[in-house]
Symmetry: C2
Subunit: 243 residues, 2 copies
DNA sequence: CCTCGATTCCGTACGATGTACGAGAATAGG
DNA sequence: CCTATTCTCGTACATCGTACGGAATCGAGG
């Protein structure tokens, strides 16, 4: 664990949270580490879902008392932010770019999607809490900005592209995992299908009835993701006019 | 209150929840209505945010005992779904379409955005809970499908466009309101700005530094929304090939 | 009229959660 | 050793969603 960061570095504002692994050379030595606590929380969320991430269970996982966690994170929301940055570390931040910034952007979006599929709780956390970018997220942002360099977009536009791209991926994957969960439960999906069929049959929803009776070929989430992603990226204007 | 729907029509599956205002002609008559309870919950969320929507506060608002609410909705998650459909009723479902399906689609997305700005808690609810479409949402879906009729897209693709469009709007507005809230709190925004400046100054984030030092002209949320929306809609292929 | 079954109303209570408080334990400097 | 400082964590509390069960209110059948 490199720069790890023990307790004492926890504050409400981003400066105290992320920046200084300031060494307090006095007092009792920490028994745990922020990284270990965060990793335990991530493991819990991966295995049993976000609801399983309670202070008590995380504490039990690392062998600490419940209140000891508050030496490492001021509150639970901060713990969630730490979790986000922890898994963001799985995103690559080095390696060559192709020079085709659209292709690079698409590749990075696919990496983000893979990350979120690996940690299905991520989209929900990303979209619920207002978050400040931690070091790993910033490293990834740095790489996206580098890829965007040949695009000719100005600063504000590049930041916006990053935000929109991340938001799009999170939204799509969130939808994806929810639908996958619905399929896994046998009667839930069936009940919804019956309900939609009943609505379509009531005569007041002709368009819905038409769509349900002639759905066309089914689309895989993967294909849909790629298609909309390509639309979004290919539509990015390089001239400043916009719409 | 037209078809209102009293208690007894509450079940876990969509069929029992939305469809039948089956009249149970026996037993004590309901003192409240699902619509009134839902409206109270919406008013609470509008005024004080989603966290203010607790069963106790909603009950107090309508002058009911806490447990009485459970005769109208089996649990809180269902109440949230009712809230979503309640405000979805504010979306127009009639009136002429221009025939230009892209323009119609964009107009409807703008209406959705306006709705979400009016009810800032909506994006979070839309993206957290897995939801079944209630009557009002279905009416709006029906209208979107009708607008999409001249597009040549097949059934599955039309449904997908609806889901993606709603997801995009929710994601954008969610981000929009979060950022607006950050601006309202004086020190929170300043702290984040200082943090980003510090990161940019550490030398390991040259792209971020460049972007922050030459941001270009600032973009209004409105303009950004319109731009990305146009990209998304104009990029919709009418031939089946996709990418 | 009374009774009976059905339905709604709601006070009480339970388990779970986030976290404030403060006493105790460990460590470094004087 | 003493004292200041830091971390540890048992206890306690407010708040949440909601299970339970009895009282109240209704329509129907006698």
């Amino acid at each position: 664990m490199p720069q790890d960061g023990g307790p004492g570095t926890a504050g409400v504002d981003p400066e105290q949270l992320w920046l200084p692994p300031t060494e307090p050379r006095k007092g009792r030595r920490p028994s745990f580490s922020r990284a270990a606590i965060t990793a335990a929380a991530v493991a819990l969320a991966d295995a049993e879902g976000l609801d399983a991430v309670t202070m008590r269970r995380v504490a039990a996982q690392v062998g600490a008392g419940v209140m000891s966690l508050y030496s490492y994170a001021p509150d639970k929301e901060t713990l969630l932010e730490l979790m986000v940055d922890h898994v963001s570390g799985e995103l690559p931040t080095t390696g060559p770019l192709t020079g085709d910034w659209r292709a690079d952007l698409k590749a990075m979006a696919h990496l983000q999607r893979a990350l979120m599929l690996r940690h299905p709780w991520l989209p929900a956390v990303l979209m619920s809490t207002r978050r400040t970018l931690g070091p790993s997220a910033l490293a990834f942002l740095e790489r996206v900005l580098a890829a965007l360099r040949p695009s000719g977009l100005d600063g504000a536009a590049r930041l916006e592209v990053f935000a929109q791209l991340t938001g799009f991926v999170a939204g799509h994957v969130g939808y994806e995992v929810a639908q996958a969960a619905a399929v896994r439960s046998p009667d839930r999906g069936a009940a919804e299908a019956r309900y939609l069929a009943a609505v379509a049959a009531d005569g007041r929803h002709p368009e819905l009835a038409a769509v349900l009776s002639a759905p066309g070929r089914p689309l895989t989430p993967e294909a849909t993701f790629t298609r909309f992603l390509n639309r979004l990226v290919d539509g990015l204007d390089t001239d400043g006019r916009g719409y």
